[in-house]
């Protein structure tokens, strides 16, 4: 039986169709509160199908916009590809939004943006901060409201590899085993089903280079804005309005450049700095 779910993310409306109840359950966990109840046709449709009788390497199939139906090795791979396609299509969809690349973390002293290239460690550090009691809104994309300067996290699943899971477990972060198995940890699994808008007070630019001990140095708000603009290589930041919006964002924040050390020390250093900055 095909299950169909309809969602609307920042006005981007799409359908998810699957014959795998587990996949439907995971997507409903991820997009909690984003169900689209309108009866109109959605912009795009994403399919995930399980064919148990097929050959071992042709049991899991996906079909996403712009790409013909094709097999994937596991359910986790299917989920990853579909979720990534949805997020990519969301950022390409012309709805006039300003997307910011980074992880949003909520702290009592003020909200935090961790930005940096893919692989810089945004996800792992944000989850390490979650293990220290902070709340994570997203680890990749947020939408900037240029009028009020608030950042609305776009929920994505956290892709946590085995090594990161081990490191995070060492820090005391408990994640559902089934979510880890499918590499589909959602904000709901971290107690944050619908992340609220964030008002940034801290921006950390994550450098890809790792050091023996974490190093954090102050950065100018202009450098932070420039880094964010470079991180956001598409969308509406190529005009003056976008530049001003980003400048307002970093202009309200303490900005730092961060070279990570081991995970626990890095999270500790970030927390210490955030607490001292107030």
């Amino acid at each position: 039986m095909i299950l169909e779910q309809r969602y609307s993310l920042f006005g981007y409306r799409f359908s998810f169709r699957t014959n795998v109840p587990r996949a439907a359950e995971l997507f409903s966990r991820l997009y909690a509160g984003k169900a689209d109840s309108r009866g109109e046709a959605t912009v795009n449709v994403y399919h995930l199908l399980h064919c148990p009788g097929a050959a071992a390497d042709e049991q899991w199939w996906i079909e996403v916009p712009g790409l013909a139906s094709h097999p994937k090795p596991t359910l986790g791979d299917c989920l990853y590809s579909i979720e990534a396609s949805i997020s990519g299509d969301l950022t390409r969809y012309d709805h006039g939004l300003h997307f910011v690349h980074g992880a949003v973390v909520y702290a009592e002293q003020g909200d935090i943006l961790l930005t940096g290239n893919s692989g810089a460690g945004k996800t792992t550090l944000s989850l390490a901060l979650a293990a220290r009691g902070l709340r994570v809104g997203c680890d990749d994309i947020a939408v900037l409201n240029p009028l009020d300067g608030l950042l609305q996290p776009h929920v994505r699943c956290f892709h946590i590899d085995a090594r990161s899971a081990e490191l995070l477990a060492g820090l005391g972060l408990e994640l559902p085993a089934d979510a880890l198995r499918d590499q589909f940890v959602t904000p709901l699994d971290l107690g944050m089903p619908e992340p609220p808008p964030a008002r940034l007070r801290f921006v950390f630019l994550l450098e890809p280079e790792r050091r023996q001990a974490p190093s954090i140095v102050p950065e100018t708000q202009a450098q932070a804005a420039s880094a964010l603009l470079m991180q956001t290589g598409r969308g509406r930041f190529s005009d003056l309005e976008g530049v001003r919006a980003i400048a307002r964002l970093t202009g309200a924040a303490h900005c730092f450049r961060l070279w990570s050390g081991d995970l626990a020390s890095t999270a500790g250093a970030v927390l210490k700095l955030v607490r001292q900055a107030i």
Binding site: T220, Q221, A222, A225, S226, L240, T250, A252
Partner: protein, 97 residues
């Protein structure tokens, strides 16, 4: 033509400067859709790139503001202006008068 102490640099009118609360700023060139971050002191230099001030008078201004040796201020100013010229943010080399 290289910028010297006698040059009177002038910023392009199309370049938008976006000052930040900490004194730093972004220069945005709409022709290339590129934003350049600059420091507080560089922003002061940029503000004086009006075609009226020569580099020597720009350095005078900086010397009155910052506790830095004049030689270093002149070197840094010339370097910054050369970068701005290379990025085509200045109207012309503006050598001499």
């Amino acid at each position: 033509m290289p910028i010297t102490a006698m040059s009177k640099p002038k910023s392009k009118e199309t370049i938008e400067s976006q000052p930040l609360p900490d004194g730093s700023a972004l220069l945005f060139d709409p022709a290339t859709a590129t934003a350049y971050p600059i420091t507080e002191s560089a922003m002061r230099i940029w503000q004086l790139c009006d075609g009226q001030h020569d580099v020597a008078s720009i350095v005078d201004d900086l010397e009155a503001r910052y506790d830095v040796e004049r030689q270093a201020l002149e070197r840094d100013s010339l370097q910054f202006l050369a970068e701005m010229e290379e990025k085509q943010l200045l109207v012309e080399p503006a050598a001499g008068a």
